[in-house]
Symmetry: C2
Subunit: 521 residues, 2 copies
């Protein structure tokens, strides 16, 4: 055992359980098990034991296949490799990786997605494993990354929490990976138990910086079967460069927010911001860094590099997140000012960060990117062509449903294989619907912004087509809308006009002809 | 002024504002105004002033047209008559009545629906009237029914609260209808202000019978322009008889709940129940009245006659609702035991009753009837054929999204004009989606129950078709599913198989041929 590991594990009774990742992998796993991972959207996930298990399959020909539950995605070196080796039969609720997506979309992996806050509680309530013959309602094993174990047996977690409290409580066996390559992150987490109804009580968070729990995660020591040392870094998220269209979108959003402040509908320092991932999100946060807004706050799932920029620009007072989804460079920046960030950042379980109660109380401004939105403001966040899973729903619904302002931003068009604007992100009817017209306030593309608050469906359609659609599609969409309106109003069925036989014609044309541009309706 | 009115209005300074409904109608209204109504799903709504306004139009040829905002539906004698007379240009967020539905579906009335809890707050935040030239962000006038006014100027409200606190705060002018035909309902309401973020604080309700506000609604007396006497009863909801299929559905749900208790996933007295309206809801509540469950609680929007039965059966400890949606006979029963009900019933604003925070904390069991559900468990609650508005979304999303268990119950098929089972309520893809696959746990028809928790989309589709579809449609649906699965898996796009060109073929066939039964796919 390394001296560093010994110093990180102040709970001496656990030192007898120290072993190598390979020993743990060989000793405690068998095929068919239900496994929980700590971490969230790659940060704070277990690394060395999952890799050792993959090595067993790849190098020793072991037959291992698991049902995997993790807060969101984990690093490709673990789960995507598992998928490549056929080691996953089931996965909830969010993933990233070419191999796992392939497994899901070819029917080899049973995946499902659900709002992340609902996932955490439903897993804890036993809904996901209720029909298992062994350990019904429980998990067989949890693998949790920590940066230290305190003398009283508390875990100082890593860079992402996800569903760690739930899997520590739910699993029969616990393996702890102490990552000695990370600083001890003591004091940055806020871990609170989420009791099951009828015993659930209010979560008394009324400000982004309120803390209501412990900075440590506690667990039943008797369930710990192994403590292993890890020195692998988080496989951080690369930084997406900001393109011109994203800058335009960010500009529209800045103008909109400034006007909301002017009209007295938002305070001068706005309200806590939730921002998704990707280059539009980066552009928006970049826009805020050079804006007139000050004393901003972030209440979000992931904290990307741009949030560090916002701190550096002196614009941001406090950030709450479920994980540090930073680039390798971003992690360096974060750790170099760790004392500062411990005072300005809190990492929470997704059961709390995504909980409707708190998102709604705080009045979060939610901003996310969909696959497509339709002219009535239903959004598809997960399935290309209505059938092909990308990553999953994530927390988009937790935030968009409960936000003070729900904003979806998207380029107006994307390229298909043969047409630079072959895919319109504004369609008559989304091919799949994750968020309904009842949940979105604002749609933004580089073309402009549609403020949908208070509009009837027919007003909404015209506003979205006019303000947001790409010029290549504006006439085509308006022709469809007018045709549908005429038919449905005449039939006395025109609250939300559609012609079902044509509503997905643009999608079908994309599949058959490589573009959503139609010869005719 | 009647002696009764004088005795009901202990705030003497308001007596100078007493006038007839006709006087108030003639004096304070002009066309184009934004108007707010108290009440909810016909109970507690203003009656005599709206009727006087309709009389002005019908008998005097007055030109009056309003934008109307009310918590949910109001009695047909007010709003539906307004719609018939062309007196409504805009309406949010829920309505019932032949004339208003016709106005909406022929494009004469701009209606929109949104989750009721979001409606209350978004109205209060000024989102619905932000672009008005007069009174932007406000309402011009609020008409509120009360059963008394206290000496300190508090309103004892009527049988339904809805958005009363919001419109009292938001309107420039207030008209109070004191309904002297109702008992003074003092002590049954719990009214709490919902502060705007960033000032919103936790609502400390952890039990159905927790009270956190006042039993009175307060308002700025200077805004009161008229106090009028009303003696019209609430135009109560008729009682729907229970048919055989509904009894079967209720039976499946009773078995399911009993098993959840047995498995330890529900306490013996279940969790607070939310039940929608209609004959399936009546059958379910009827089923509970003769079940083994005791000490039940209700946390719902409307309290129907069957809830009185549940009290009478000694099964129900407490009920919280937004309105008493009782039949005339039910109102008699309620008023005859008013002292009992004041100790066992609370009427709350929809901003509180439907608020995600509380629904989720309490762990409500939500049960609602959709228009249709699809094989992946997306539900259409509002639009026939995807385009024709019935009533609106209501609070279904508030409850289904945040519930401990989200249950949708529907007959497996309904009759079309020419075919007794011409409409399948299980379809490949819902024609409109109000609730997504991420929100529903259980689908029930008279055929059986599909427990969808933890199932992937492909598992879900097969489970729903097998357990819930009508025998006339089972093979047809399975043929579609298998065809879609084959195509999408082969294309590596099979997470949630659909064939977009065929997904609504059953709906199109209904429109063209009067039945969803296809000759072939």
């Amino acid at each position: 055992m390394s001296a560093t590991l010994a110093s990180r594990c102040a709970r001496k009774s656990l030192l007898s359980k120290v072993m190598t990742p390979s020993e743990a992998a060989h000793k405690f796993f068998k095929t068919g098990m239900t496994v929980g991972f700590s971490g969230f959207t790659p940060a704070g996930y277990p690394k060395v034991v999952p890799i050792a298990l993959a090595d067993m399959v790849e190098k020793e020909g072991a037959k291992l296949q698991f049902e995997l539950f993790a807060g969101a995605s984990v690093g490709a070196e673990t789960e995507d490799r598992w998928a490549k080796l056929g080691m996953e039969s089931r996965r909830w609720p969010y993933q990233t990786g070419k191999n796992i997506a392939k497994g899901i979309n070819t029917g080899k992996i049973e995946m499902g997605d659900i709002h992340l806050s609902a996932f955490a509680q439903n897993l804890a309530w036993g809904f996901f494993t209720k029909d298992h013959t062994t350990n019904p309602g429980k998990l067989d094993i949890a693998i949790v990354e920590a940066t230290a174990i305190t003398e009283d047996g508390g875990l100082v977690l890593g860079t992402g929490v996800g569903i760690t409290p739930e899997i520590l409580a739910l699993a029969d066996k616990i393996i702890i990976e102490v990552n000695t390559s990370l600083p001890v992150l003591r004091g940055i987490h806020d871990i609170v138990p989420d009791l099951r109804p009828p015993y659930r009580r209010p979560f008394l968070i009324s400000r982004v910086d309120d803390r209501i729990g412990s900075d440590l995660a506690y667990f039943d020591e008797n369930k710990v079967v192994a403590v292993v040392e890890s020195n692998l870094p988080d496989n951080g998220r690369g930084f997406s460069a900001v393109d011109e269209d994203s800058k335009k979108i960010a500009g529209h959003i800045m103008d909109f927010l400034a006007n909301e402040v002017k009209q007295g509908r938002l305070p001068e320092n706005l309200l806590p911001l939730q921002s998704g991932v990707g280059n539009i999100a980066n552009a928006v946060v970049g826009g805020l860094a050079t804006s007139q807004f000050e004393h901003l706050q972030v209440w979000s799932e992931v904290m990307q590099d741009t949030v560090l920029d916002l701190f550096d620009a002196g614009k941001l007072d406090y950030a709450s997140a479920v994980s540090l989804s930073l680039s390798p460079e971003g992690f360096k920046r974060f750790y170099s000012k760790l004392d500062f960030y411990k005072k300005h950042v809190v990492i929470r379980p997704e059961a709390i960060a995504n909980f409707s109660e708190i998102v709604r109380r705080l009045g979060v401004i939610a901003m996310n990117t969909p696959v497509e939105v339709d002219m009535y403001a239903h959004a598809n966040s997960s399935l290309i062509g209505g059938t092909k899973m990308i990553n999953g729903l994530g927390g988009s619904g937790d935030f968009l449903r409960n936000a003070y302002l729900s904003i979806m931003h998207t380029p107006s068009a994307r390229k298909s294989k043969t047409d630079p604007t072959g895919i319109s992100c504004i369609v008559p009817m989304a091919a799949h619907i994750d968020h309904t017209e009842h949940d979105l306030d604002v749609i933004v593309t580089e073309q402009g912004l549609a403020d949908l608050r208070g509009l009837s469906p027919r007003q909404r359609a015209q506003c979205i087509i006019k303000n947001c659609a790409h010029p290549d599609y504006k006439d085509q969409l308006m022709e469809y809308y007018k045709m549908a309106e005429k038919k449905c109003l005449a039939a006395g069925a025109g609250h939300e006009p559609q012609i079902l036989a044509l509503a997905h014609k643009m999608h079908v044309n994309l599949e058959e002809n490589g573009t959503m541009k139609l010869k005719s309706w």
